[in-house]
């Protein structure tokens, strides 16, 4: 197995205005590493949506970014309420976000579909009352 470069972040759940700082930092790091700009954009969008989801639904969480020679893996873990119906949550337009979040420009039911769209592979491990871990791979 090739060597991995790892970045780790804690996402605070109580400050919506700061959501996206981790994704912004990863974007800058990948840029400095000379990663293709299209790949960086996909990583940034997928991670940003995940970060926003964590703030909206799960009171924050942690994000691990593993960069190897041929893949970037994003692991977003929270101890939030879990997703009762993953299939439904994956539908474009389905949202359980409160009205307040919609007025901030999110919660349109595009978060998880966007994460799937911009990654090559996405896995959701979730248990109601325990939390959710989303793992995404973006190939280099």
């Amino acid at each position: 197995m090739s060597e991995c470069l790892t970045f780790e972040y804690q996402v605070s759940g109580d400050d919506f205005t700061r959501a996206g700082e981790a994704s912004s930092d990863v974007k800058n790091k990948l840029k400095m590493m000379g990663v293709d700009s299209g790949v960086i954009r996909r990583v940034a969008i997928a991670m940003y949506e995940g970060e926003i989801n964590m703030v909206i639904h799960a009171d924050g969480g942690s994000i691990k970014v593993l960069v190897s020679d041929d893949n970037i893996r994003l692991i977003l873990a929270d101890t939030g309420p879990g997703i009762p119906d993953v299939e439904k949550a994956m539908q474009q337009g389905y949202s359980t976000a409160p009205e307040e979040v919609r007025s901030l420009g999110f919660g349109a039911g595009m978060g998880l579909p966007n994460m799937k769209k911009f990654s090559d592979n996405m896995q959701i491990d979730t248990e109601v009352g325990v939390g959710t871990t989303v793992t995404m791979d973006i190939h280099l």
């Binding site: 919506f16 996206g20 954009r41 969008i45 940003y48 420009g105 595009m110 966007n114």
Partner: protein
């Protein structure tokens, strides 16, 4: 279309990124929903929005959007503008509504 032309057409104020006025842009995307912007906007477009919070700047950053036009004359707080300046983004501010803004830019060739 140059950002300078967009500024003139929309009778807009420039609040950040004056050095970018001669940058050329090929298309625009208009939405108040940032998730839709992330899903459907092409990179490097001009973002037209009536939403005023720092996540607009973050969304633009993720998409490599370097020019944002805030419509409907809503006031922008310093947090938004400071973030835009830190990210080297051009911010225009127009009193015109979204429909009028889109119509003017579309009919002018953008």
């Amino acid at each position: 279309m140059l950002i300078r032309e967009i500024k003139t057409l929309l009778d807009a104020q420039i609040l950040s990124g004056e050095q970018m006025l001669d940058q050329d842009v090929a298309e625009a995307f208009a939405s108040d929903m940032m998730s839709d912007v992330l899903a459907f906007a092409n990179p490097h477009c001009v973002l037209l929005t009536g939403l005023c919070n720092p996540q607009v700047i973050r969304t633009a950053e993720m998409l490599d959007v370097s020019c944002i036009v805030f419509v409907r004359g809503k006031p922008l707080d310093s947090e938004i503008l400071n973030l835009a300046r830190a990210k080297d983004m051009c911010v225009l501010h127009t009193e015109k509504g979204m429909y009028t803004t889109c119509g003017i830019l579309y009919s002018s060739g953008l």
